[in-house]
Symmetry: C2
Subunit: 239 residues, 2 copies
DNA sequence: CGAGGTCTTGAAGACGATCAACAAACGTGG
DNA sequence: CCACGTTTGTTGATCGTCTTCAAGACCTCG
C-alpha cells in the first residue's frame, strides 16, 4: 500500500525519490485502533504526530456541559495533529470514528526534515495551512449558510478530499458517520441535522442511505451550498 | 520601533540575533493604508505576504448575496496571509479596518528562510498553526456558545493577543470595530450583536464605550465564555 | 449645525433546540 | 438463522434564539 500522505502531497507538487523515502522512514510505528478510541487527549503534551492510513478520525473539543464540537474530519493521508509539532501541546482531542490504521511520526523525525529538507518542510507546512483553510470555510458556513447548505457543503468538501486519495468516485462515497456525529460537527441538534438531510433529499441534491452518500446533482449542490473548491488548493504548483 | 512580529515570536521561543536580523531584512517595503482599503483580494495569485505593523485588519469572504463573513481579526505582529506563501493563491480577502502600517515580505525571502534557517522556519510555521487554533476556537464558539458567550470569548482572546504585543493592559483595550463588523465576525445580525453586548453589560462582565472595551470582571467573563487561553499557545517553549 | 453613520430598542416571524414517541437497522447470543 | 435489545434515524409539537424590518437616539466630523 502506498502511503496516502505521499499521494495527497503529490497531488499538489512533485516529490523526489529521496523525499518520498524520508517521509516513509519518518514513520516509527503503525497501529490499529478500534472505533471510538482516543488517539490524543486534549491538553496533552506530545512528542509525535499521527498520520491516518485508513479509517476516519475527528478533532473535537468537549464543553463544560458535556456537549461536543467537532472541528475537523480526517481521512487517509491526513496528518491529524501535525500542528502539534510546533505547538507542543494539544488544544483539542483526537479520536477514531471508525476502526483506523494510523502511523506514528515522532516530532524528532519531523524536526530533522525541517533541518535537511526545506522543500518537504514547505509541503508539510502546506498541509497544516490547508487544514486552516478548511477551518475558515467551516466558519463561513456556520456564520452564513443555511442548515442544508452546510451539510451540502461538507458533502462537496469530503467528496473532493476523498477523491484526491482515491476513496471516492462517481459522486458517491462511504460516510461512516452517524447523524449525531454530523450534528456535533455542524453545531446542530441531531433532529435538525436529520431535517437538513431530508431537505437535500427533497431538493434531489444528495441522498444518504446507510453509510453511503450519493450526490445526485453535483452542479445543483455546488450552487445551493455555494461551494467553491479553491480553498482545498488541489492544484499542482511548485511550492 | 521594534518589529512586533519579533515581539510576538519571542513570547514563544528564543530568537538569535541573526534570526532577528533576517526577519527584519525580509521586509521589502513598508506601506501605509487608509481604513477600509483592500490589502489582498480573494482569489488573487500572490508573491508576497503582509505583516501588520500597526492598525487592525480582517480576513473575510463575501457570499453570493453580498453578506460578509469575517474569519479573523489581525493586529500588530500578525502575518495576515503568511499561509499564502505555501498556498500561492488567496482563498479569501484581506482588508484594513483602521488606518494601518504594513510590511511587505516577498515569498522569495520566506523561501530563503526555509532554505537556510530551519528554526526560524518552525517559528513562522508556528504562527500559521496558531492562526488555525484560533479558527478552531471560533468554530467551537459558533457551534456551542451563547451569543454573549461568543462576544465575551472574543474579548478575552483579543485582550490576551493585544497584551502579548504590548497593546493592552488593566483589562482594557482599544477596539476600533463597529458593531456591524463584529456581527460579520460572529455570524450575527447587528441587532443581535447589540443585544449580546447589552447582556455582557447587564451581567457586569464587560462594557464597550466608544472604541474602548473594558473587561469589568475577568474571572467572571472567563467562566461565562468558557475561555481557556491554552489555544493561544502563549507559553515559552523550545520549538 | 446639519447629515451620515452608528447604536439602540420594539415587534413580528423564521430558524433551530428540546422533548417525546416511534420506526428502522444493527449486532449479539441462543 | 431468528429473537431481542440497543443504537440510530425519523417525525411531530412546543419553546427559545436570532433575523428582519422599522424607527428613533446618539455621535462625530465636515
Amino acid at each position: 500500500m502506498t502511503n496516502p500522505l505521499i499521494q495527497k502531497l503529490e497531488r499538489r507538487d512533485v516529490l523526489s525519490d529521496e523525499e518520498r523515502k524520508v517521509l516513509d522512514q519518518s514513520i516509527a510505528q503503525v497501529k490499529e485502533l478500534g472505533a471510538d478510541e482516543d488517539i490524543v487527549a486534549d491538553g496533552q503534551r506530545i512528542t509525535f504526530s499521527t498520520l491516518v492510513l485508513s479509517g476516519w478520525t475527528v478533532r473535537y473539543k468537549i464543553m463544560g456541559d458535556g456537549r461536543r464540537q467537532i472541528t475537523a474530519f480526517h481521512i487517509a493521508g491526513d496528518f491529524v495533529d501535525l500542528h502539534s509539532f510546533t505547538l507542543k501541546r494539544m488544544d483539542h482531542g483526537v479520536a477514531a470514528l471508525t476502526p483506523c490504521k494510523i502511523a506514528i511520526v515522532p516530532h524528532e523525525n519531523l524536526r530533522q526534515i525541517t533541518e535537511r529538507f526545506p522543500h518537504l518542510t514547505r509541503l508539510l507546512w502546506l498541509s497544516t495551512v490547508i487544514d486552516a483553510a478548511v477551518h475558515r470555510e467551516w466558519i463561513i458556513g456556520m456564520g452564513q449558510r443555511s442548515a442544508h447548505g452546510r451539510v451540502g457543503h461538507l458533502f462537496c468538501e469530503l467528496y473532493l478530499r476523498l477523491q484526491a486519495v482515491g476513496l471516492a468516485a462517481d459522486h458517491r462515497f462511504t460516510f461512516p458517520i452517524t447523524q449525531e456525529e454530523l450534528a456535533d460537527a455542524l453545531g446542530f441538534s441531531t433532529v435538525h441535522t436529520n431535517r437538513a438531510l431530508r431537505k437535500l433529499r427533497q431538493l434531489d441534491l444528495a441522498t444518504v442511505k446507510g453509510q453511503q452518500v450519493t450526490i445526485d446533482n453535483w452542479e445543483g449542490l455546488v450552487r445551493e451550498a455555494e461551494f467553491d473548491p479553491a480553498y482545498l488548493h488541489l492544484e499542482y504548483e511548485p511550492r
